[in-house]
Amino acid sequence: MGGKMKREASISTWQLFFFLLQTQVGVGILTLPYEVHQAAGKDGWLSILLAGFFIQTGIFIIWILACRFPEKTLADFLPLLVGRVLSIIIIAFYTLFFFVVASQVLAIFLSITVKWAFPRTPSIVFAVIITALTIYLIQEDVRVIARFHVLMSFLLLGVLLVFLLMWNHLNVYYLLPVGSSGFKDILSGSPKALFALNGIEILLWLFPFTQAENKKKWIAAAGASLVVTVIYTLLALCAFAYFSAVKLTHVPEPVLYMIKSIELGIVERLDLIFLSIWAVFSITSFMSYLYIAAMGAAKMVNAKHHKKSVYVLGVLIVPLAVYTSNAETIKILGSITGKAAIAFLFAIPLFLLLVAIIRRKREGTG
C-alpha cells in the first residue's frame, strides 16, 4: 500500500499517555472497591493489582503487534494478516465491543447520577446532553480529543485529595492479615477489576497516530495503565480501611459513601463535588470508546471520514443506554463485557501476533 492516505493529525507521547489514562479512569472508580470486595473480601485490592498486571501483559502483546505495523491502525493491517473477510468480522466485533462498552459507561453514569444527585430528572435528558457533547467533540480528529483529555487530567488531583481527607479515619487493622482470603478468591476478583481498568485496547488505533519512537509509546501506555492501577488500588485500600467488612457489603458506591461523611467547614456535601469530578472521567472514557467505535464503523463501510458514523452511533447509543441503565441489566452486561474484554485485550491481539510471526508479515512486506 504505497499510496498512503493523507496523514491524519498526530499526537505526542504525553497526549497518548493521557488519552489512555482518561479512557481507563472511568465509571469504575466509584464501584470498584465494592465489586472486588464481593469476590475477594478485604484482599480485593490485590485483585486490582493482579488485574493491572494482566493489563500490562496485554499492553505488551498489543505493542509488539503494533510495532510490526507502526504506520497502520488495526483496521489497516488486519487484511494483510487474515484476509479481507475475516478482517471485516474482527473489526465488526471490535466496533460492537467498543460501542457496547460506551453504552455501558453511559448507562452506569445515568444510574448513579439518578441515584445520588438527580432522582427526579429523567435519565434521557442526561443521556442526550452528554451524547450531544460527545458527538461535538469526537467528530474532530484525534488531536483535538487528546487535547481535551489532557486538559481534563488535572482533575485527578481531586481524586488524590480524597486520600488526604480520609487519612484520619483509616484503620489499617481492617486490612490485616494480607492475603487471608486465599489466592483463588483474589484471582476471581480480578475479572471484575478488568472492566474498570479496561480501555487499553484503543492503543491498536492510536499507535500509528502517535509521533514517537516505538519504545516511548510502550512507556506511555504501560505508564498510563500503571498510574490507573495504582490509583484504583489506593482507592480500594482507602475504602477497605474505612468501612468495616459488613458495612462494605451494603454500599455499592463505597467511594462516594466514604466521602459523604467528611466535613469541611463550608462544604457540606463533598460527595456531590466528587460526583462532578467523576462525571468528567466517565464522559472522557465514553468519548474515547465511542470515538474508536465510530472509527471502526467508518472503516467497515469504507467511509472517508468518521463524522457520519459518529452521528449514527450517537443516535443509537442514547436509547440503548437509557434502556439498560438499571442495576440488573448493568450487572449482566458488565459480566459479559468483562469476559469479552479478556478476548479483545489478550486473545485476539495474541492470535494476530502469532499469525504475523508465522506468516512473517511486517509493514511493507504485504
Binding site: I129, N171, Y173, S261
Partner: protein, 374 residues
C-alpha cells in the same frame, strides 16, 4: 458569527431542572429524635427552625429582624417506620420536610439498647441525608428531651450540636458521627462508643455526661466523661485538650491537661488458651492548677508524677473493667486478633471470651510543663 442563533436553543437546555429544591419551599430539619414504642412502632421527633413571620414591626428596619432569636417548631408523631412518620408529619407542615441539613440525631436510651442500627436505616439509605450529623444517646426519651425547656436557648439542635462539638474538643466524648458510628456498630471486631446527653433539671440545661458503650448494635453500658477521656487516651483519639483532675496525697488537688499521649495495644493469642491484651499508656501532661505550687523542685514533681501515675492507672483500669462488663470491645481488641490470626478468632466465641479476658493496663504520667508559674 453566523451561528449566533444557536445560543437560543442551547440556552433552553440550561433551564431544565427537575431536581431543584429551593429553600423557600422546604422545611429543613435540624434535629431528629427517635424512640422505640411497643409493637415495633416508633416515635419520631423533628425540630424545624422557623422564620419570624410578622413579628418585626414594619418601621423597625432590618436590624430588629436579624437580632431576634430564631424560633423553632418541635413535632412528634408515632408510626411504623421513620419515613412513614416523616410523611405523616409532612401532611401537617407547609412545605416539604428536608433532611439534608440535619445536625443532630438523638436516640432514647431504652431504644438504643435494642438495635440502634435498625433505627438509622432510613438515613443510610437516603443519599441526601448528611451522615456527618452527630449521633447521641439521650438519657431518657428523645421526644421528651426536645420538649424540655433549655434556659436561654431557642434553637435546640444548634445548641446540642455546639455542646457536642465542645465536648469533643475537650476529649470528653469521642469524635463521631452517624457514618463513623455505623462502621463500628457493624464491625465484629470492635464496638462503638457514642456520646450520652442528659437534662439537668436544676440548671435547665442539657449536659454531656459521658458516653454509651455498645455491644454489637445495642447499647450495653455507660462511661462517665472521665472514663470516656481515659478510653480516648487508650485508643489514641484525644483531641486538642484533655483535662483531668486528681486528688493526691495530703488532700491536695491537681488539674492537668494532656500535652501528648501515646498508647500501645498489644494482643497475644496463644495457640491453646485465652487471648490476653496489654495497654501501655505514656502521658505527658501540663499542670494547669496546683495551689500548693513549688513545681520547680525535683522532689515535688517526682512524687506528683508517681501519684498521678497511680491515679491515672486506677482510672484506666476502671474504664477497661467497665468496658468488659458491658461486653463492649471499644478498643478493638477483637479486630487485632482477626488481624493476627483470623482462624483463631473464628473459633473463639468473642462475646464470651472478651468480658473475662485478661487486659493489663500500664500507665506512665509525667509533668512536662507547669504553665506560667512553677
Amino acid at each position: 458569527m453566523k451561528k449566533w442563533w444557536t445560543i437560543i436553543p442551547l440556552s433552553l437546555l440550561l433551564a431544565g431542572c427537575w431536581d431543584q429544591r429551593s429553600v423557600k419551599d422546604l422545611n429543613l430539619i435540624f434535629g431528629v429524635g427517635i424512640d422505640r414504642e411497643e409493637e415495633n412502632n416508633l416515635t419520631l421527633t423533628v425540630e424545624i427552625p422557623q422564620e419570624n413571620q410578622g413579628t418585626t414591626s414594619g418601621g423597625g428596619g432590618t436590624e430588629g429582624a436579624t437580632q431576634q432569636a430564631a424560633q423553632s417548631l418541635v413535632m412528634s408523631e408515632k408510626g411504623q417506620t421513620i419515613r412513614d412518620v416523616a410523611f405523616q408529619l409532612d401532611r401537617r407542615i407547609d412545605g416539604a420536610l428536608d433532611i439534608s441539613k440535619l445536625s443532630v440525631l438523638m436516640v432514647g436510651k431504652e431504644s438504643a439498647q435494642h438495635d440502634l442500627y435498625a433505627l438509622l436505616d432510613a438515613y443510610f439509605r437516603n443519599p441526601i441525608s448528611p451522615l456527618n450529623a452527630k449521633l447521641v444517646v439521650v438519657d431518657g426519651r428523645a421526644d421528651e428531651f426536645f420538649q424540655k425547656d433549655f434556659k436561654g436557648q431557642t434553637l435546640y439542635s444548634d445548641y446540642f450540636f455546639k455542646l457536642i462539638e465542645t465536648a469533643e474538643q475537650e476529649s470528653a466524648i469521642p469524635v463521631t458521627n452517624m457514618q463513623l458510628a455505623c462502621n463500628l456498630l457493624l464491625d465484629e471486631g470492635s464496638d462503638a462508643v457514642i456520646p450520652l446527653i442528659s437534662y439537668n433539671e436544676e440548671q435547665r440545661a442539657a449536659e454531656i455526661n459521658g458516653s454509651a458503650l455498645f455491644n454489637g448494635r445495642s447499647m450495653s453500658g455507660e462511661l462517665t466523661t472521665e472514663e470516656a477521656s481515659a478510653f480516648l487516651i487508650m485508643d489514641n483519639q484525644t483531641q486538642q485538650e484533655l483535662p483531668l483532675t486528681f486528688r493526691v496525697k495530703g488532700e491536695e488537688d491537681i488539674s492537668v491537661t494532656l500535652i501528648d499521649s501515646k498508647a500501645k495495644l498489644k494482643v497475644s493469642v496463644p495457640k491453646n488458651g485465652s487471648p490476653a491484651a496489654t495497654v501501655s499508656v505514656d502521658m505527658k501532661v501540663q499542670a494547669i492548677e496546683y495551689p500548693p505550687q513549688g513545681l520547680n523542685k525535683k522532689k515535688v514533681t517526682k512524687t506528683l508524677d508517681q501519684q498521678l501515675t497511680e491515679e491515672a492507672q486506677k482510672l484506666l483500669q476502671q474504664t477497661v473493667q467497665k468496658m468488659q462488663e458491658a461486653n463492649s470491645d471499644a478498643l478493638g481488641i477483637g479486630r487485632r486478633i482477626i488481624a493476627k490470626d483470623p482462624d483463631t478468632f473464628k473459633k473463639l466465641d468473642w462475646g464470651e471470651v472478651y468480658p473475662d479476658m485478661d487486659i493489663k493496663v500500664e500507665t506512665k504520667v509525667k509533668i512536662e510543663r507547669t504553665g506560667a508559674i512553677f
